[in-house]
């Protein structure tokens, strides 16, 4: 429900949440590098601790720099509220902490960032949370994975290691029938390319370290509340629908309405588990977001040209980029991200494992490292790095077979990127 006609994406990217500083008039959001905030009087302190007033107590819960980042991302995604945390992993953890009880299950896409697969398979065991895996290319596998203990569905919009577009609306319908929230990791798309709430998502998570921040200099994560899920309907989510002993019996869904999920992640998750974002990192990511629409368009345009070049290169066996005509995800890309298919994708070399290693070694502009979404172009050979402990069969299922190379195409002149790939392939 909106009360005003929404301004455009680029305007929101610069302005949302950021009025001039009330004390000094500083126009750029200041870095409030402070642990704590003075109370007006004892009653003000009590009101803040009881969640009865808006305001800051301690930077593990709220901070004014962090708050601008939160409102900015909430506005860009079209959500009701957001919570910024230390990393994308922290964002995922706090989302599940707010939804899951010991013994609960959730359905997760097999096509995810490897770090998320690790978190779900291994770390969550200690909490008694069990992932049930489903293949986004086979929607029936999502239906089949849902059981009475299922509390959520988790997918990526554009899936790592790239080249996969997930049919968000189709999976949102499955989530609605199962009466569970759909969580979408929108890191690789950003709201510039895909807005998951418009396709039926209920919660969005980001690694803001990637394209939101965009410069490879600061870690951060963001949770966005779509305000669409009715937590009180089935009362299956006691963090939101039951009286909370942490707050004298307050029911968060009743008190905070359509932004209660973001509040629950903050006051039950972040407050007690502690993965707060540093105000400095929040500032760096905010500065990055101001140019998000310009950068994402250039990232995608560059990636499209690089993918087209590689697809015609004699040393290249295959390219998995949905922007290419004939790619298996090309139609979904046209539907979900007509402006561009993102900047992260994989391709395979005819020379296999050794050629992959040689390519990485020979590149001069592309940096060999384990990140994506930087201004700089990045490359990694998963089989020899992030996935080296897996068997060959496991590597192939994970999209990290011996011949696979992953690129995150940056903002350099695309002719220079193509020249770099050509010289490295020539000697690979």
């Amino acid at each position: 429900m909106t009360d005003q006609q929404a301004p455009g994406f680029s305007t929101i990217a610069i302005h949302a949440g950021a009025q001039p500083d009330p004390a000094t008039g500083a126009r750029v959001t200041p870095i409030y590098q402070t642990s704590s905030f003075v109370f007006d009087d004892v009653d003000h302190a009590a009101s803040l601790f009881g969640l009865q007033a808006f305001g800051n107590i301690y930077t593990r819960m709220t901070n004014p720099t962090q708050a601008v980042l939160e409102e900015r991302v909430a506005a860009l995604e079209g959500g009701t509220a957001a919570l910024a945390v230390a990393s994308g992993h922290a964002a995922e953890f706090l989302v599940f902490h707010a939804l899951m009880q010991p013994g609960d299950e959730f359905v997760a896409s097999t096509k995810l960032y490897g770090g998320s697969i690790n978190q779900f398979n291994h770390s969550y065991k200690n909490f008694g949370w069990t992932p049930k895996w489903a293949d986004p290319d086979d929607l029936a596998s999502f239906e089949a994975a849902i059981g009475p203990k299922t509390k959520a569905i988790f997918i990526e919009s554009i899936a790592n290691p790239g080249g996969v577009i997930v049919d968000i609306a189709a999976i949102a319908k499955i989530a609605k029938r199962a009466r569970v929230p759909l969580i979408v990791d929108n890191t690789l798309a950003t709201p510039y390319l895909i807005k998951p709430f418009e396709h039926g998502a209920d919660i969005i998570v980001h690694s803001a370290t990637k394209f939101l921040g965009g410069h490879g200099n600061s870690l951060g994560g963001v949770i966005v509340d779509g305000g669409s899920f009715d937590w009180l309907a089935d009362k299956r989510y006691p963090m939101l629908s039951a009286p909370r002993p942490e707050y004298n019996g307050m029911v968060l869904a009743e008190t905070f309405g359509n932004f209660a999920f973001a509040i629950a992640c903050r006051v039950l998750g972040l407050r007690d588990l502690g993965p707060a974002i540093s105000p400095f990192n929040a500032f760096m990511i905010l500065t990055g977001i101001e140019t998000l629409p310009l950068r994402m368009q250039r990232h995608s345009d560059n990636a499209q040209k690089v993918a087209e070049h590689l697809a015609n290169h004699p040393g290249v066996k295959w390219v998995s980029y949905p922007g290419l005509k004939g790619d298996r995800y090309h139609n979904l890309a046209q539907q979900y991200c007509p402006k561009g298919a993102g900047a992260v994708f994989t391709f395979g070399l005819k020379g296999g494992y050794d050629a992959g290693l040689a390519l990485v070694k020979n590149l001069r502009l592309f940096s060999h490292l384990a990140n994506v979404g930087d201004t700089r172009s990045l490359v990694i050979h998963p089989a020899s790095t992030t996935h080296r402990q897996l068997s060959d069969e496991q590597k192939t299922i994970a999209g990290a077979g011996p011949d696979v190379v992953r690129l995150s195409v940056g903002l350099e002149d695309v002719a220079d990127l193509i020249a770099d790939l050509d010289q490295a392939l020539a000697s690979a």
Partner: protein
Amino acid sequence: MNHESYPDELIRSVLKNSKTIAMVGVSANDARPSYFAFKYLLGRGFRMIGVNPGLAGQTLLGAPVYASLAEIPEPVDMVDIFRNSEAAAGIVDAALEMKPLPKVIWMQLSVRNDAAAAKAEAAGLTVIMDRCPKIEYGRLSGEIGWTGVNSRILSSKKPALLRGFQKFTIDRR
């Protein structure tokens, strides 16, 4: 009048022009939303009057509480309804018996009664439904952004500070 969405300027003028608010269904339990909203609006300078038969004759945070709207001995600008949608009909009827008439009927988040709203509007009152005055005040003043909430307001103007720390006002001086 359209009750699917309200222009910010309407909400702002309703909140700026209402000095006295009678909150029907106020609670003395400090974990209840009605207590929060009552306390917050009191702190923003509104004259608050509680309506709750169970608390009649007592004071809440120093403000008077009456059993019904009819017992309030002073003019009221806004009647804020913290009851369910069905109960709102009877409360609107009672509000329309008040002399002088209140200017505004406000129904809380999730409370909506279109027939009661039409009756109040026919009597010349402004009606806001399915909104919280605390959230709307915090949204329009800029405070709500401190909690990461999307205020949907973009502004290059400095927020207006109230006396003390961490308090904004919608009354720009």
